[in-house]
């Protein structure tokens, strides 16, 4: 029984589903750069481009989990570099709170990530995704917010 459970959680078998909200100006451009540099990272994360990390409403994140995401990434410009000056500062505050809340109800903190990836940080983007997916593999499927219909 235990072995079976362990096997189920085997990193090989479980492919986490990830949604990555990328701001148009930095992180999306950074992920483009990762592509241009032909870096390799796991294919688990589907990017959704948004204008600014500041536009990511907490409900987007929660909804992604509800629809079955095992992990959610929000990525924006480094503080001070926001194309819209301060959008990422608002995002940071909001997302800090979302993360605390997720943590509080017992969602593993590693299921949710925020990162700053600039347009020049293709390598960092690849690393963030790789690292995130590895974390998620170890965690197994997300069940708490996923709708069972």
């Amino acid at each position: 029984m235990q072995d079976a459970a362990a096997a189920k959680h085997d990193a090989q078998e479980f492919e986490p589903k990830v949604v990555a909200f990328l701001c148009k100006w930095c992180s999306s451009a950074g992920s483009d750069l990762a592509g241009v540099s032909r870096l390799k990272y796991p294919a688990n994360a589907v990017p959704i481009q948004v204008m600014c990390s500041g536009s990511v409403s907490p409900i987007y994140i929660l909804s992604a989990f509800n629809k079955g995401a095992d992990g959610v990434l929000v990525s924006g410009c480094h503080p001070g570099d926001c194309h819209y000056l301060k959008g990422n500062y608002y995002a940071r505050r909001r997302i800090f709170l979302v993360q605390k809340l997720l943590q509080f109800i017992g969602v593993e903190p590693d299921r949710f990530r925020m990162s700053w990836v600039s347009a020049a940080e293709g390598v960092k983007y690849a690393e963030v995704i790789t690292d995130f997916v590895n974390d998620l593999k170890a965690l197994g499927p997300q069940t708490k917010l996923k709708a069972k219909r």
Partner: protein, 650 residues
């Protein structure tokens, strides 16, 4: 929502096709509800590729189009244009990036294909709910207001006027010139400041395209880029500049004597006076504050003697409303108040001067006629201590930032001192020397080596008066010992802070300021002369401490931005802007608080987006808890549908 979407999957040669099974992507999408056409092609961006989009739109009556290809940064424009040739609104075309974000970064063909399907599907969901949009066109007023008549404002105004634009130059003081007119010589070349500035000032006054408004301030602004309405308040002009003959008769009879602010108190003036000989407008000026009464019964001496009949005690202040298309803010700096430096005896001892005072002293037109004399006893100081970073780089008590120019002007001051008093001793206390700039390092080296200025690395801890001398206590960190200097005079290189006028104008224009109070630029690297508000530009020391060459650069840069902006008869603004659902908005103003572009105001208790100012960043969307605001074509519904598409699949 559209019902007839078309999907075009690009092989990009083998760039995409090598990793992604493009045929499968096209086939899977073909099954989706609302997709009526789905195909793949080797190079979508090629002419035949684009033509196939155009043809398919016509043939299959497509109402939205998704191209699954490379980054939208590369070909979004291409395909949107192709779509509009096909008869679609360009905004009904979306790009799914399956190259940079998929094919190029994955190895496993199956995984990459699955992801490509999801990316494409979410693009379809988005495209299907895109509204057709047209860029917002707005007429422009081809007139510019420049606020602040220092070198920054003067330069901008001249550049703009020479480009054929009408310019209104608004200056708070009775004359333009700003701080530069107070300087004696300028580093690194030591040419006379007034000599290089005065011709420009005259040019301003003579230029047919420039309207000069002195003693004037902006009180409020409405409107937006291309169409500002500005209210300007002009103080009463008791002396008519057109009549004034500059004869000086009035000054001669005026009984009032007050400190002269242009000489920073080193000198006196009358209640009616000319700030300095080169003042523009070239006219005497009656200071109502010190005048005995603006009432002939009380005094009336000056009007009596004025043969030109230029003086009118009954003059009234004036309010005007001016329409302009763009604004350049050049309201400059102030020196960090000397008396805030109690530890250095600033404001307490007359012989502790600030930089501008020293400039005035060195200036041939200054209070001492260009001689360096102690204010207290008009003796020539034998030992002068210059203190750099006075108030700068001191996060604990004063300003955190580096004022950037003090190293240079201190070197200049020490040099000038040595030129005036060759046998005097000049000490400079410094933390480091920041002399980046053409010829700057050489200038400092010359001060040290040729002019024998003694540079001591370390901070001054205290200055106090003792036995007619100013005792300067400090450390020489290089020598590792305390130093104590008996100085005759001390010059504090006070930090530069945003001028009071800058603070006021920021408020009136509703433009942001940075943490230090300087005007905030739209982007610190890429848009350094633009404010966050479209159509308002920044220049000079109001934006950050800077020297004259840099100020002039920025002034011309701002001017060229304005010229570019106003070169079109109509401005085009992206239609991807926020829209409020009034039924849901409760007027809580949170969006108003967060909008980086001040695009939202409350109108009758509901948020109202000024589409011209909105940049479509969506910060408001992320903030509004009532889901009452959305950015067109990136609506919450679209994000929801995209999420569903990303998560779906069996």
């Amino acid at each position: 929502m559209t019902r007839r979407a078309g999907v075009f999957v690009c092989h990009c040669g083998t760039n995409i096709a090598a990793t992604v099974d493009v045929k499968r992507v096209a086939a899977e999408l073909a099954r989706d509800a609302g997709v009526v056409f789905s195909n793949d092609y080797v190079y979508m961006c090629s002419d035949p590729g684009q033509q196939s989009v155009i043809d398919a739109i016509r043939e299959h009556n497509l109402d939205s189009v998704v191209i699954s290809c490379c980054s939208p940064n590369l070909h979004e424009k291409t395909f949107r244009e192709a779509s509009s040739q096909g008869g679609l609104n360009p905004f009904q075309c979306e790009i799914a990036n399956i190259r940079e974000q998929c094919a190029w970064v994955h190895k496993d063909r199956d995984e990459a294909t699955t992801k490509a399907v999801k990316i494409t599907r979410s693009a379809v969901e988005r495209a299907r709910r895109n509204q057709p949009l047209t860029p917002i066109g707005l007429p422009v007023t081809r007139k510019v207001m420049v606020i602040g008549g220092g070198i920054a404002g003067i330069q901008s105004a001249l550049d703009l006027a020479n480009a054929g634009l009408d310019v209104v130059l608004v200056e708070k003081q009775p004359t333009i010139g700003g701080h530069m007119i107070q300087l004696s010589e300028t580093f690194p070349t030591l040419d006379c400041s007034q000599c290089i500035l005065s011709p420009k000032m005259v040019e301003v006054s003579k230029h047919p395209k420039i309207t000069l408004m002195t003693s004037s301030e902006v009180t409020s602004v409405s409107g937006f880029v291309g169409n500002f309405k500005i209210k300007v308040h002009t103080k009463a002009q008791y002396v008519d500049p057109d009549k004034c003959k500059l004869c000086d008769d009035c000054t001669a009879v005026c009984p009032v004597v007050v400190p002269n602010e242009y000489d920073v108190g080193l000198n006196d003036r009358r209640a009616i006076f000319i700030p300095f000989a080169q003042a523009i407008p070239a006219s005497y000026y009656l200071d109502p504050e010190s005048c005995l009464g603006l009432n002939p019964v009380v005094c009336g001496k000056c009007a009596n003697v004025c043969e030109a009949d230029a003086i009118d005690y009954d003059a009234k202040p004036k309010d005007s409303e001016i329409d302009v298309g763009a604004i350049v803010v050049a309201t400059g700096f102030d020196l960090y108040a000397k008396d805030k430096m109690a530890e250095y005896g600033g404001g307490k001892y007359p012989d502790v001067l600030d930089g501008i005072q020293f400039e005035r002293m060195c200036s041939a037109s200054g209070p001492t006629g260009g001689q360096v004399l102690r204010p207290s006893d008009h003796e020539e100081p034998k030992t002068v201590v210059f203190v750099q970073c006075s108030g700068s780089r001191d996060p604990a008590q004063h300003c955190v930032y580096c004022s950037k120019i003090c190293c240079m002007y201190t070197a200049k001051h020490a040099t000038l001192y040595k030129h005036h008093v060759p046998n005097g001793r000049a000490y400079v206390f410094y933390i480091d020397i920041r002399s980046g700039g053409k010829g700057y390092e050489e200038f400092v080296q010359r001060a040290m080596e040729r002019d024998g200025v003694i540079y001591l690395r370390g901070r001054v801890s205290k200055i106090y008066q003792s036995k007619g001398k100013l005792k300067v206590l400090g450390v020489d960190t290089l020598a590792g010992k305390n130093v104590e200097i008996d100085a005759d005079m001390v010059v504090l290189a006070q930090a530069m802070v945003p001028s009071k006028g800058t603070t006021e104008v920021a408020k009136a224009l509703k433009i942001g300021r940075d943490k230090d109070g300087f005007l905030a630029e739209a982007h610190p690297k890429l848009r350094p002369v633009e404010s966050v508000t479209g159509g308002i530009f920044l220049t000079g020391a109001a934006q950050a401490p800077k020297d004259i060459p840099e100020t002039v650069c920025q002034a011309s840069a701002a001017a060229s931005k304005v010229i570019a902006l106003l070169s079109k008869p109509e401005l085009e603004h992206s239609p991807v802007v926020a829209r409020v659902r009034e039924s849901h908005c409760t007027g809580c103003e949170m969006c108003v608080d967060v909008c980086p572009f001040e695009a939202i105001t409350l109108v009758e208790g509901k948020a109202h987006v000024n589409e011209v100012l909105c940049e479509g960043c969506g910060t408001c969307v992320g903030t509004c808890v009532r889901a009452a605001i959305d950015v067109k074509n990136v609506t919450q519904l679209q994000v929801f549908e995209m999420l569903e598409a990303c998560m779906g699949g069996e």
